[in-house]
Amino acid sequence: MSKNLTTRTVVIVVVILICIFGVIGFPKSKADLIDNLRSNIRLGLDLKGGSHMVMEVQVEDAAKGDAQQTLEQLQREATKQNLAWASADVNEPQSVNDVDKVTLTIRGVPADKSSAFRDLVTATCPTYALTALNTTDYSLKLKPSDLEDLKRETVQRAIDTISNRINDLGVAESSVQQYGQSGSVYQILIQLPGVDDTAHARQIIGTTAVLSIVGVDKTHDTFFTSREDALAKLGGIIPLGETLAKMKPRPGQQGDEWYLVGKTPVITGKDIRSARPGQDDVRKWQTSFTLSQDGGKRFGRYTGDHVNDKLAVILDNSIVSVATINERIEDSGRIMGLSSEEEAVDLGRYLRSGSLPARVTPLFENSVGPSLGADSIHQGILSGVAGLLAVVTVMLLYYKRSGVNAVLALALNTVILLAAISYFHAALTLPGIAGVILTIGMAVDSNVLIFERIREELRTGKGVLAAVDTGFNKAWWTIVDTHVTTVVSCAFLFLFGEGPVRGFAVTLTIGLIANVFTAVFVSRVIFDYELSRQRRLETLSI
């Protein structure tokens, strides 16, 4: 028996060592200890602070944009063939669910040109299906498989762009992924652990960042104070190919500033290869950018032809900067007059990551500051310690020396639980800490089951050895049953729950599995050890 006992004791000691190593490594000092603890036990979003967002990609924007581009293409090709129609438009989708209803309608195609028209459509936009509404009107919609492709690509590009921007923010362990909920595959889940400025993060993620650099009207190149003021000064008509745009409000600005700018951009975000924030000689913030070859040539031609005219940089329909062209610029430029370092840095981020293919709107957000997390940890530890002390006291009073047995098993259980959390890189959340505390209560249950059984067997007059044996054996199946049912419960919690609740399900499950080991195997070994040391097996302190 002693050989068996030794093997089992060795197994337990090895397990203890592996677990302790998993939790605190080989610390050489107290600071080391805390560091190791912190890096081994990963804290969930609710304890560390951070943000958890679900966003919806408005794919209908992309569908509408595609339809509009197709319309422009058709119009260009049609002009070449001397084909014309009365009117054309793209309908306005109201929500994501309308993405399948985006339709391009062309009215008034001369009846004798209908076959030429059909050929034109097939040649120019093969991904669209043409339906005749009557002899002169037609509607075009994306073919189903092409629409699916468009939706998928839009969501993927949105994910990629947002990922780039977030990585640029430098949030460690951040993640952006598709979030398929019932009914919608257009949702993205963004997790930013430890981010402390959620407002800024929201802005970075949500800004579509469509950039265009346009020319400012030569004759009216100073700003107007309002739309009405502009119309008055222009004689009520906005020149063809131009539009009014408003300057983004800056601190210290008196009133609004509106400019008359060209509609067609000289440079768009797609032409920009890279961007960097910096300061100019008078320490004002600016963002420098470099252009692609193609864009560079176009920019060179434009700036060469328009020296001394002004350019406006527009980001998402607001003018960010207006500057005069001093000389021909080929491949790079600077956006100047930005109001702060943050604006310059963010603009650089948008230019580098590119614009989002569609708007993203927030559907759900859970943001916790690090202060709430720190408070929660204090509270969790406090209640854990209190609960543990209460349980230990009662066990010792009620079961005497065997109580010590239970307390040791309990201690080992907690250590194994922490080690498992560390090895599996599971995140410890506040409900997870509650799970640890609950495991203490439930682990004790197994011991109570066994001890009560042993007491009963002793009362029937069985000898100590037999009583211990029977106690363990009879309690075994009950322990299995009770643990399996709670684990089943946790499995469903894991499937249907989010972050913090999943942490709870994981910690409770690990705790229960560890408990089967400690309450049965380890407790048994301790009992056997104690019994093997007694010379006469008459009594058992229980």
Partner: protein, 417 residues
């Protein structure tokens, strides 16, 4: 010390008072839910925007409400948070049934703006240290520090900002009331302190968390919660039906269902909120109540093997009495840990621990006074002509009961070595 030695209470004989009490509680719960127009949803399920704000003094709820009324379109509610660790904390929120997500986003921005305007110093041009992030603090301090003759490299500045915010968040719950509280920041000196006082001010509040649940996600989360509960119950029913007779499984599940309903009713009666962590607590307590029931059923099954001629009620009573000691001990100990959570666990776990406190009490008595009587009623009903306990005979023998009994015979030899 040993309580409950050889007790012989007639539990099943006295089942009626408890069954009636259960019915009363259940009805009371439902009435409360009906009268209050449904359950009170917490953060995860309530559609709307929510902010948790900590103030440096007892928060002036009325003042906040009045300020919000003018600026925010949707109705704003202001509520104090309870529980240890929630001193001077309020929850400010808009509830928006059916509002579009964009409206919720606007609401949140408006609420933040109102707080800044009412309690902050927006006109001073200074940075609010209690609301600053690492980046904004860094950017704000760079030039002034250089001008004050305390030049720092980018990395040093980054570390300094990080240290300041660490002290703010970990030692003062995110709210600094006096600049002197920062004297413990490593790397700080008089020059830096002066610059801080110059460039920053200390607003009397700190936003600890913001939550926004749009209607789409809110609905999905609610559905998931219900599914989780129902599937878990079904899973357990399947497992118990496999280990015992099906009627035992049904009895256990009805008992658990009863526990869940009463706990939810109590939530409504005491005006507590139901969040996802509360659902976690409910599922835990379902598992826990199942445990209790299984222990008793296990005993009943074991006793039935040896007492074929005694009425089922007698056998059940004996089983309950035999397991009484264990039941009280376990419930008591688990209750102790849960009470510790309730008292010291803080506001976030408040709903969770409340659910468990109620649930453990209800779950313990339901195993004896709900689950067992159901099995008893069924067997009495189906076996009226016979007086003896039917569960052991013929094909209705509890499945899975044989192996453990057999294995008991084998192991004694191992221990005797």
């Amino acid at each position: 010390m040993e309580l409950f030695k050889n007790t012989n209470y007639d539990f099943l004989g006295k089942k009626w008072p408890f069954i009636i009490a259960s019915l009363v509680l259940t009805v009371a719960g439902f009435t409360s839910i009906a009268l209050k127009g449904g359950l009170k949803y917490g953060i995860d399920f309530k559609e709307g925007t929510l902010m948790q704000v900590k103030f440096a003094y007892p928060p002036p709820d009325d003042k906040i409400r009045a300020a919000m009324l003018n600026a925010v379109k949707s109705e704003v509610s202001v509520q104090d948070l309870h529980g240890s660790g929630a001193e001077n904390m309020v929850e400010i929120g808009t509830e928006a049934k059916g509002a579009a997500e964009s409206q919720l986003d606007t609401n949140r921005r408006e609420m933040e703006g109102v707080l800044a305007a009412t309690f902050g110093q927006p006109g001073s041009g200074k940075l609010d240290l209690n609301g600053a992030s690492r980046d904004t603090l860094q950017q704000r301090l760079r030039d002034p520090l250089a001008r004050a003759g305390v030049p720092m490299s980018d990395q040093q500045l980054k570390d300094l900002a990080g240290n300041i915010l660490d002290v703010r968040d970990k030692q003062h719950s995110g709210l600094i009331t006096d600049f002197n509280q920062l004297s413990s920041v490593s790397g700080i000196n008089a020059g830096i302190m002066n610059t801080l006082r110059q460039e920053c001010y200390l607003a009397p509040y700190h936003v600890q968390g913001t939550h926004m649940v749009g209607p789409k996600v809110g609905a999905e989360l609610r559905v998931k919660a219900v599914k989780a509960t129902l599937y878990a119950l079904a899973g357990m029913l399947a497992y118990i039906a496999f280990r015992f007779e099906w009627i035992y499984g049904l009895g256990a599940v009805i008992a658990c269902f009863h526990d869940t309903l009463i706990t939810i009713g109590l939530f409504s009666l005491f005006n507590k909120e139901i969040s996802m962590t509360v659902i976690a607590a409910l599922l835990t307590l379902v598992g826990y109540s199942m445990n209790d029931t299984i222990v008793i059923f296990d005993r009943i099954r074991e006793n039935l093997k040896f007492s074929r001629r005694e009425p089922l009620e007698v056998v059940m009573n004996r089983a309950v009495n035999q397991t009484l000691s264990r039941t009280i001990m376990t419930s008591g100990l688990t209750f102790l840990t849960v009470i510790a959570l309730f008292i010291w666990g803080g506001p976030v776990l408040h709903g969770f621990s409340f659910a468990l406190v109620c649930g453990i009490i209800v779950g313990t008595y339901s195993s004896v006074f709900v689950a067992s009587p159901i099995v008893l009623f069924w067997h009495n009903y189906t076996d009226k002509p016979r007086k003896s306990s039917p569960a052991v005979t013929g094909g209705s023998a509890p499945r899975g009961s044989m192996p453990p009994a057999e294995s008991v015979r084998k192991s004694p030899t191992r221990a005797a070595k």
